[in-house]
């Protein structure tokens, strides 16, 4: 395996290559199309942000990529290549060799993601023992070093503490330490800061960024907060209703967003620099039902710029001016139809806000 890997690393091939990934769940209500045809690539050492509203499939996407979904009611198809090797559908016996060692994950809630009954040191040492065959003493030393890396004060003492004895921020750092223990090439961070205070969030995001640079690691940062992805990612993928609707390098996206969805999302965020009582833009309605998704563009029922075509025909993922920028919209921001509707809206011909009932 290592032979194969070294060989592959030589070539300039993306670390992760996802083609038409679909993850569906069989439920009592019917088939939940949580991820429905997502394709993307991730280069070595880059940070990809995945944003979207709650329920858009971000978590399912990242877990599908890692192969961590429960097998009982899950149906996956498509292809996920890690370092050129197909890993989708691999039995967990084989995936286990990758987990922790090649790819690892940081979860949203540091409170629940650490085993409450195991000492921090043990939890960090576990992958070291498993994957790197380290002796106890070595593992402990390494664990201590890792804790220091993630800036936990008094690292040696923390090894023998339990998660509940640590503050929320420290727990999240400890979790990052565990994820980093075996030096993975790919780190998934699923809303790593949503449960934390803003001040701590800033620290954690900064820490992930530093570690990524130090270790030349790729990071997939999942969040619903456009602010978080803006400052800490190289590339951004926007998800809506299980689909990838727009993807671009961070600066390109914010400068030239094409999807009305991305734009509306952006507009609904209150901005610090705006004076107080600035009217916020809203998106009416609510996210689509993933069992019976709308036929055409999934955002069309909520889109102020939607036309008949949007409702009937599903837009393909298209390339924008920038070769790395793609989007799925018939009438993207800046298109004549878009501009025309925008003008109508501003003139009040059409109600701007469609309040949901």
């Amino acid at each position: 395996m290592s032979e194969l890997q070294t060989e592959m690393r030589q070539e300039h091939q993306p670390l992760l290559e996802v083609t038409d990934l679909r993850t569906h769940f069989r439920t009592e209500r019917g088939l939940v199309r949580a991820v429905d045809g997502v394709s993307l690539t991730l280069e070595r050492g880059k940070c990809l942000g995945i944003v979207g509203e709650s329920g858009s499939g971000k978590t399912v996407l990242s877990r599908s990529l890692m192969g961590l979904l429960p097998s009982s009611n899950t149906v996956t198809s498509g292809s996920v290549k890690f370092e050129g090797k197909e890993i989708l559908g691999l039995p967990s016996k084989q995936m286990r060799r990758l987990w922790g060692r090649e790819m690892s994950m940081v979860f949203q809630n540091p409170m629940t993601s650490l085993n409450p009954l195991m000492k921090i040191g043990q939890q960090i040492a576990e992958p070291l023992n498993l994957h790197l065959d380290m002796s106890r003493a070595d593992a402990r030393a390494t664990a201590e070093r890792l804790l220091r890396d993630v800036r936990i004060p008094e690292a040696a003492r923390r090894l023998d503490q339990y998660p509940h004895e640590l503050s929320g921020g420290m727990r999240q750092r400890a979790m990052i330490a565990i994820a980093l223990a075996c030096g993975p090439t790919l780190l998934f961070a699923d809303e790593p800061t949503t449960a934390l205070d803003v001040t701590v969030q800033a620290q954690i995001l900064q820490l992930i960024g530093e570690q990524r640079r130090d270790r030349n690691m790729s990071v997939v940062l999942v969040t619903h907060d456009l602010g978080v992805v803006a400052g800490h990612t190289d590339e951004i993928a926007v998800m809506y209703g299980g689909k990838l609707v727009e993807k671009a390098p961070t600066s390109v996206l914010f400068a030239h967003m094409k999807m009305p969805y991305t734009m509306s999302l952006m507009r609904s965020i209150p901005k610090l620099e705006d004076p107080s009582h600035t009217r916020l833009a809203t998106i009416p309605g609510r996210p689509p039902d993933l069992v019976h998704p709308p036929k055409g563009c999934r955002f069309a029922p909520r889109c102020a710029y939607a036309r008949d075509k949007c409702i009937t025909e599903e837009p393909p993922l298209r390339q924008a001016e920038d070769p790395n920028h793609s989007y799925a919209c018939w009438y993207p921001v800046g298109s004549p139809e878009f501009n025309q509707r925008e003008a109508e809206l501003n003139s009040g011909a059409v109600p701007v806000t469609l309040e949901a009932r």
């Binding site: 961590l68 286990r96 629940t112």
Partner: protein
């Protein structure tokens, strides 16, 4: 708290047995009514004195409590010289305790692996089958299970003896308790299994299990090292609480299998209105219950570092 509880329990029992029965009649029988006969009167006086019956109820209670604390649980109500209650129970308690330990051991040893298997294959065939089995075991009253097991294993198959014999060597006696142990242990195992299975399934859905998987930890190791311990809390509580219920169950089992333990003794004593014996047993059971709950707290602190403060 524990002490208050014991006081309340004993006062209740003491009160009930004294108010609802005539202790003097229980002790002496018809002689208690034979007040015309000087011989009987002498006996009545003696009994009143021996059992403090002429003192008011609270005083008697106080005397009884102080005796109990010193390990003197009084004398059985019988003119035929049954041994003192303490002596009687000294002989009987070990049997019931053995039976309960055996039952709990069977329950725990059966339920843990069973729950692990079920939980790791949740909703698969094995799990559904085992759920059905637990339902059946839980729905079978203890006496019915005792009869069924006795019928199948002792009567039809003849693998186990029908009764218990106090004079047989220890190993034989343990063997004689095996079938009764199963009668006590199996339904408990079903309860534990269901509980532990549910908790394991909940735990297995926890983020930290996913975290462990994402570290590349193998499935058995996840089950044993990560999932089992955090799932044990209600299990332990219920094992403790069930011990009380099992003492109730042992009444039936001891009756069916003729084990002279405190369960069968209690039934007989209650029927004879022999309240020193009843009181002593109820108190011992309640004390054991309270102690077990204290013990559970200790066990909690051992397995859950979070309780330390």
């Amino acid at each position: 708290m524990a002490i208050t509880l014991l006081f309340a329990v004993s006062a209740l029992t003491f009160g009930a047995m004294n108010v609802l029965g005539d202790p003097l009649f229980n002790i002496l029988g018809p002689i208690a009514r034979d007040t015309g006969n000087p011989k009987s009167v002498k006996l009545i006086e003696k009994a009143k004195n021996d059992y403090n019956l002429d003192k008011p109820l609270p005083v008697r209670y106080g005397l009884w409590v102080s005796g109990f604390v010193r390990g003197d649980m009084g004398v059985q109500f019988s003119t035929d010289g049954q041994p003192p209650v303490t002596e009687l129970l000294k002989e009987r308690i070990p049997r019931t305790v053995t039976l309960l330990i055996l039952g709990q051991l069977i329950a725990v040893l059966v339920s843990i692996p069973w729950a692990l298997i079920s939980a790791s294959r949740a909703d698969k065939f094995v799990d559904r089958l085992s759920t059905a089995t637990t339902f059946m075991l839980v729905a079978l009253p203890g006496f019915a299970l005792a009869i069924i097991l006795k019928y199948v294993f002792a009567i039809r198959l003849g693998w186990f003896p029908l009764t218990y014999r106090a004079l047989d060597p220890l190993r034989t006696r343990l063997f004689q308790m095996l079938l009764p142990g199963f009668v006590i242990g199996l339904p408990a195992a079903a309860i534990y299994q269901r509980l532990l299975r549910t908790d394991l399934i909940t735990t297995l859905q926890e983020d930290f299990i996913l975290m462990a998987r994402s570290k590349g930890v193998s499935k058995p190791r996840i089950l044993f090292k990560h999932a089992l311990r955090p799932s044990m809390f209600s299990f332990i509580t219920v094992v403790g609480l069930t011990t009380g219920a099992l003492i109730g169950g042992s009444i039936v089992v001891e009756t069916v299998f003729r084990i002279p333990g405190i369960g069968s003794t209690l039934v007989e004593a209650v029927l004879r209105h022999d309240f020193p014996v009843v009181l002593a047993i109820v108190m011992i059971v309640a004390t054991a219950f309270v102690l077990i709950n204290l013990l559970i707290d200790v066990v909690y602190t051992i397995i859950d570092p979070r309780v330390h403060r």
